[in-house]
Each structure stands twice: as structure tokens, then as C-alpha cells.
């Protein structure tokens, strides 16, 4: 078969390098994609809208309903609101090795959240509900830090996440 690159490039050595570059890029993409799919890691992508000015009137994000809830299958759902300059509720406790679904909404501007050393992270965008599911293999004290600039108090926007050993019976 004739090399389809032949019309663009005469030197065979150069063409070989172009093919190798293509192969390398495709290989890296393939490995990363396979890894993500096989371990079921997806970025937060639920595309769900909400009126951020009326969060307190919704059932899910009303103040009394925020926090950790146990689901029937043993997994947990954590509902949180991000508002300048804090995450509510400010303290969350979850057990190790348990799937936790986080659902978060912003009451004002754009925020983000990341718990360092874990893959718990999402952008929190006014008008949208963010959702991601993860689990924490290691017990310990973690922090939720706001990682999207949200105003002059952005630095002080953080809250506590505690992961307790499942066997120690920490979950409520």
C-alpha cells in the first residue's frame, strides 16, 4: 500500500517519524481512556440545572436537609452548599471504603472544591448541580478547599472532611 502521507512529505524517514508521533499520541490516549473506563472514573458531568437564587426553597438543598445521608444500598449521599466563603455543612464525616455521592450547589458565584490527596473535586457553578462519586481508602483528616477564585475571601473558604475507619464503626 502506498503511504497516504506521501503526497505531503517526500522523505521516508520523516514520514516514519510522523507515523510514530501519531502512534504515540493515540497510544497515550488509549491507555488513559482505558484506565478511566475500566476503573469507572469520570469527571463530574451530570448536566443538571437549578435556580441558585432559590436553593433554600428546594427540598434537596434546604438548610435542614444538607449533610450525610445513608442510602438503602449502604452507600452515602452528601449534600452540600457552597457560598461565599464556606461550605455547608462545615464538617462532614464519612467511613472508609464506602461509595459516597457528593451533590453540591452554589448559592452565589463560581466555586470549586478539592480535597488534597484524594480525587474528590468538582467545579461548583451557579445554575447547575455538581455531582461526583468517590470513596476514601485511607482514614484521616482531610480538607475541602475552594479552588475557583470567588472573591477577596476566596483563600479562607474551606471546610473539614473526616474519614473514619469503617471497621471502627464511625458512620452514623
Amino acid at each position: 500500500m502506498q503511504d497516504p502521507l506521501k503526497t505531503l512529505c517526500e522523505d521516508p524517514l520523516e514520514r516514519r517519524w510522523v507515523w510514530m508521533s501519531l502512534f504515540l499520541a493515540v497510544l497515550v490516549g488509549f491507555v488513559l481512556g482505558l484506565y478511566a473506563l475500566s476503573s469507572n472514573i469520570h469527571p463530574p458531568s451530570n448536566v443538571e440545572t437549578i435556580d441558585s437564587t432559590r436553593l433554600h426553597l428546594t427540598e434537596e438543598f434546604a438548610e435542614d436537609n444538607l449533610g450525610v445521608k445513608q442510602n438503602e444500598d449502604g452507600s452515602l449521599t452528601v449534600t452540600m452548599v457552597a457560598a461565599r466563603y464556606g461550605f455547608f455543612p462545615p464538617e462532614i464525616e464519612v467511613p472508609t471504603d464506602t461509595p459516597v455521592k457528593f451533590r453540591m450547589a452554589s448559592a452565589d458565584v463560581l466555586h470549586g472544591v478539592h480535597a488534597p490527596y484524594t480525587n474528590a473535586a468538582t467545579m461548583i457553578v451557579p445554575g447547575y448541580v455538581s455531582e461526583f462519586t468517590t470513596s476514601f481508602p485511607t482514614a484521616g483528616k482531610y480538607s475541602f478547599l475552594c479552588n475557583e477564585y470567588c472573591g477577596l475571601g476566596h483563600d479562607s473558604m474551606w471546610s473539614r472532611l473526616t474519614v473514619v475507619d469503617k471497621s471502627a464503626g464511625g458512620a452514623k
Binding site: V28, P43, P44, N46, V47, G112, G127, L152, D155
Partner: protein, 540 residues
């Protein structure tokens, strides 16, 4: 007659860029010092975020745009050997862009636009900030028009001839920027500006971010393009050799043009307003953009090898030592390649659908782009300036030795600044913070990298001052330039007849449009198909 080359226009543009650069480096040093909680007297979120907003705008929009315009104008005249298509219009574009910068500067300096260079709605800035941004972009569109029309005029006058590689690349960049800038232009014109003026009450933040992402990736290739053009068309000659292949250069430029615009979507990985399938598709597109860079790496290193062997280098690596490392263009290319290699590894992590979540918006990201953008790209801007200043002013460079030291300092400073910066990100420090009032266990880990960053920042500041001083003194040099013409590198074998596809743009423009519609059509349309809730403006 040197008149047709328009050196005054190129110099004016580039000086605006470098003045902005010098001011921004000073702000950068202030930022690394402020952020560490050691000097309480310096603490001020207002100053910090004002500074970061200004630093980002000056480096990301002003230095780059003006340098690209200046270099482009000089490339157009010297490679095509003809006057610009419309010189008065080019000056008009320059003044428009300068007025835009001044208009944006007023609210930035008075505390009315601390929205960072990525705009961050629903935080709102004073309308003049957005108007200034629009004028700067419109000024850059004038440049795009000049580049495209100059090339067309040349083609008409030279039917069947091959467009010189330098101009082929510059025109590709102009076309790319026209497509790229549409996203941010739409965001500002239809959303942010009317909203800041009170003409509309709310903006959809999901849509705004999607439009901004359209611009956000290819803009970095807009910045990087001049570096690649210098690699291919200036460096081989300066190294004493030839360009391995003219066609590989064209192929790389075409790939950058076509592949880079539709992949800005990877900046939305963490956004809840786009679906996972689209993100996954865009990851594959993103990986492909490594291809033109790999091609460039091969062609440029091979061209250096040719030069080294022509100069008597033997053995597997003997040619490296024979290269004229005392030539700023050659030295900068070598250092830029090293930084590009380090930075490329980091980039693969960022581009990854699954791994990005660990480092998204941590200091890893700022460390990464300082290395590639502040490092690779900007060091080539320096090399271009060192090479062109003597041609444009008619005077020899004030000091070649100082230029070499400056480049080395920039390289070392960048490594000292950015390696610990990546570490900070892995240790979880979010970007865009002016203080660290967090858990003590976490903060303790950040102190040493932050101190190292101050050292890096100071080295970079010294280097930046050396650059500006050297260029400034060149204007007053008594020694006339020895080689007044820009010497473009010859390819090893010249092609008698360039394939039509590699000597034109029509087909590629069609391809970009198809690719753009396929990759961004639905993700933008969805905001009009579902019920969304806009956000009202918030002040900082």
C-alpha cells in the same frame, strides 16, 4: 531602501509587549512574596488579586499579542520581500490595541476589575475592562487581516511559487487566531459587556465558560506559534546548517491550525454543565495535538544535528558540542526544547480525563504553564528580539554576552520557580490564593517550595531587566549592523513544486469549520435547548 520592511511598526509593537512584560514580572515577584505567610505587612487580598489580574492580563494578552503582531509584520515584509498590504491600517490596529490596553488598565489599577484574566463570571468588572479587551482583540484582528491579505497579494504576484515557510506559518497563526478569538469575543459581546452595563440581568455561567474554553486552548498555540516559526525558519541558519525539511514545518503548522481550536473543551473537565461523553471525545482530540509538537521536536533536533555535523561534530553526540551555543537563537532553542520536554510530561497529566481531577486548579497548573508559556514560549520571544533588534534598528546588539547570560538566567530561574510550584500542587495548594489560612499540617508542607519560588522569581526579575536594558541600549549603539537582512534558513532539499494543499489554506479552513461544528455544536446548543438559570452580577 529599507522602507518597505516597516521596522518602526514592528518595533513599536514589540516594545509595548516588552514594557508590559517587565511590569508583569515585577508583579509576579510581589505575588510569590505576598503569598507566603512570613511577611504580615505585605498581606492584602485586594493588592494580591489586583496584581494577579494585572499580571495575567499583561503576560497573557499584552506581551503575547503585541509581540506576535510585531514579529508578524516584520516576517511579512522580509520573507515576502514586499511592503505590507496596508501600512496605515496596521498602525490603526496598533493604536486601537494600545487604547484597549489603557482602557482595561484603568479599572484594573483602581480596583474595579479584579476578575482575573479569565473573567470569572458571575464576578463582574467595570464595563471599560470588557470594552478594553474587545479593542485589543479587534486590533489583533487587523493584524490577522494584514497577514492574510499580504500573503494573498504575494500569491497573485507570484503564481505557482511556494509561500516562504515563515510566512506560511504566520498566516496559519493569523487564521487560527481569527477562529480562536471568536469564543471569547462572543462571551464578551453577547454576555459580559451587556450584563455589566445592566442591559441584561443575568448570564448563563455554563455557556460563558464553554465559550471561554473555545478560546482557552488554541490561544496558547497562538502564543507558541512564533516560537515554532523561529525554530524552523531562523534557528537552522544561525546554527550554521539547514532546515531538515520545509514540508514537515508546513505539516506541523497545518496540524496546529486544524487540531488546536476545537479542543479547548478539556478546560471543562471539572464543569458540571457538560456531559462525560463529550469530555471523553475531547480527550482523544487533545492527545493528537502532541503530534505537531513531536514532529517539531524531531525536525528541529535533526536540523541542529545537521549543523553540528557540518561544523565537524563526530560520533553519536559529538555534534552537540560543536553547535554555536554563543548564538542567542541557538542557545534559546536548546533551552526551550528542554523546558518543552519537562512541560510536555505535565501536560499529559492535565489532558487526562481521569488524572486531571487530582491537580485541577491546584498550583500544579500554574507551575505547568509558567514552564511552557513563561519558559519555552517567552525564551523564544527573547531570541527573536535579539535576532531582529539589530535588523530593525540597524545597530549591532548592545551585548551578545549579556544576552547569553540573560537566557541562561531565565532558564535556571524558570526551573527554580516551577519545579517546586508543581510540588505545591501535588500537595494540594489551590491556585489563586493570597494567603494560606488552612489546616496547619497541610500548610507546613508548602513553606519550603514557596521559599524556593521566591528565589526563582528574583532570578527571573534580574533576567528580565537585563533583556530590556540590552534592547534599549541597542538603539543607541554606534556600531552599524553587519548583516542587515533577515536570513531565513534553507531546507536541505528544496521542493520544486509544493503540493497545493501545503501552499494554501482553503481546504484546511473548511476542515476546521467542520471539526468545530462537530465538537462544539451540541455542547453550545444544549444551553438553548434546556431550561437554564442565569446568574446576576456579583462584585468581588
Amino acid at each position: 531602501m529599507n522602507d518597505y520592511k516597516a521596522p518602526g511598526l514592528a518595533l513599536a509593537n514589540m516594545w509595548v509587549g516588552f514594557i508590559a512584560f517587565a511590569a508583569a514580572v515585577l508583579l509576579g515577584v510581589y505575588q510569590v512574596v505576598e503569598r507566603i505567610d512570613l511577611v504580615p505587612a505585605l498581606k492584602s487580598p485586594e493588592l494580591y488579586f489586583g496584581s494577579v489580574s494585572t499580571h495575567g492580563v499583561l503576560m497573557g494578552f499584552v506581551l503575547t499579542t503585541f509581540l506576535i503582531m510585531g514579529y508578524g509584520y516584520y516576517t511579512a515584509t522580509t520573507s515576502l520581500k514586499q511592503p505590507l498590504w496596508n501600512k496605515p491600517l496596521a498602525w490603526f490596529g496598533f493604536y486601537l490595541a494600545v487604547i484597549g490596553v489603557l482602557m482595561a488598565a484603568a479599572p484594573l489599577l483602581t480596583g474595579n476589575a479584579f476578575v482575573l484574566f479569565t473573567f470569572y463570571p458571575p464576578l463582574v468588572a467595570h464595563p471599560t475592562f470588557y470594552i478594553g479587551a474587545v479593542l485589543l482583540v479587534v486590533g489583533s484582528w487587523v493584524w490577522c487581516l494584514e497577514m492574510i491579505m499580504s500573503t494573498m497579494k504575494w500569491k497573485k504576484a507570484n503564481p505557482g511559487e511556494t509561500i516562504p515557510l515563515a510566512m506560511y506559518g504566520t498566516t496559519a497563526n493569523a487564521i487560527m487566531w481569527l477562529f480562536t478569538s471568536l469564543g471569547v469575543a462572543a462571551e464578551v459581546l453577547f454576555q459580559l459587556l451587556p450584563w455589566s452595563l445592566g442591559l441584561i440581568d443575568t448570564v448563563d455561567v455554563g455557556l460563558a465558560r464553554t465559550l471561554f474554553s473555545w478560546t482557552l486552548h488554541a490561544i496558547v498555540y497562538f502564543w507558541l506559534f512564533p516560537a515554532y516559526i523561529a525554530f524552523y525558519t531562523l534557528m537552522p541558519k544561525q546554527a550554521g546548517g539547514k532546515l531538515l525539511s520545509d514540508q514537515m514545518g508546513r505539516l506541523a503548522f497545518i496540524m496546529l491550525l486544524v487540531i488546536s481550536v476545537p479542543i479547548g473543551f478539556h478546560h471543562l473537565y471539572m464543569g458540571p454543565f457538560q456531559a462525560a461523553g463529550w469530555k471523553f471525545l475531547h480527550m482523544t482530540g487533545t492527545m493528537l495535538v502532541a503530534v505537531p509538537t513531536l514532529i517539531t521536536g524531531f525536525t528541529i533536533i535533526a536540523s541542529m544535528e545537521i549543523a553540528g555535523r557540518l561544523r565537524g561534530g563526530k560520533g553519536l553526540f559529538g555534534w552537540i558540542g560543536k553547535l554555536p551555543w554563543n548564538n542567542p537563537m541557538v542557545l534559546a532553542t536548546g533551552l526551550a526544547m528542554l523546558m518543552l520536554t519537562f512541560g510536555g510530561f505535565g501536560g499529559v497529566i492535565n489532558a487526562s480525563y481521569s488524572m486531571n481531577v487530582m491537580i485541577h486548579n491546584t498550583q500544579w497548573v500554574t507551575g505547568h504553564f509558567h514552564l511552557i508559556f513563561g519558559g519555552t514560549t517567552v525564551i523564544m520571544y527573547f531570541a527573536i528580539a535579539y535576532y531582529l533588534w539589530p535588523k530593525m534598528t540597524g545597530k549591532e546588539l548592545h551585548s551578545n554576552g549579556m544576552a547569553l547570560k540573560q537566557l541562561w538566567l531565565w532558564f535556571i530561574g524558570m526551573l527554580v520557580l516551577t519545579l517546586p510550584w508543581h510540588q505545591l500542587g501535588l500537595d494540594g495548594q489551590p491556585r489563586r490564593i493570597s494567603s494560606t489560612p488552612y489546616d496547619a499540617e497541610l500548610v507546613e508542607k508548602w513553606i519550603i517550595p514557596e521559599m524556593a519560588m521566591i528565589v526563582g522569581g528574583v532570578i527571573l526579575l534580574i533576567s528580565a531587566l537585563m533583556l530590556v536594558y540590552n534592547l534599549y541600549r541597542t538603539h543607541g549603539n554606534q556600531v552599524a549592523v553587519a548583516v542587515p537582512e533577515v536570513e531565513y534558513a534553507e531546507p536541505v532539499h528544496s521542493i520544486a513544486r509544493m503540493p497545493h494543499l501545503m501552499n494554501s489554506f482553503g481546504f484546511w479552513v473548511g476542515l476546521i469549520i467542520v471539526y468545530l461544528v462537530a465538537s462544539y455544536g451540541y455542547p453550545i446548543a444544549q444551553f438553548f435547548l434546556m431550561e437554564t438559570f442565569g446568574a446576576v452580577p456579583w462584585s468581588i
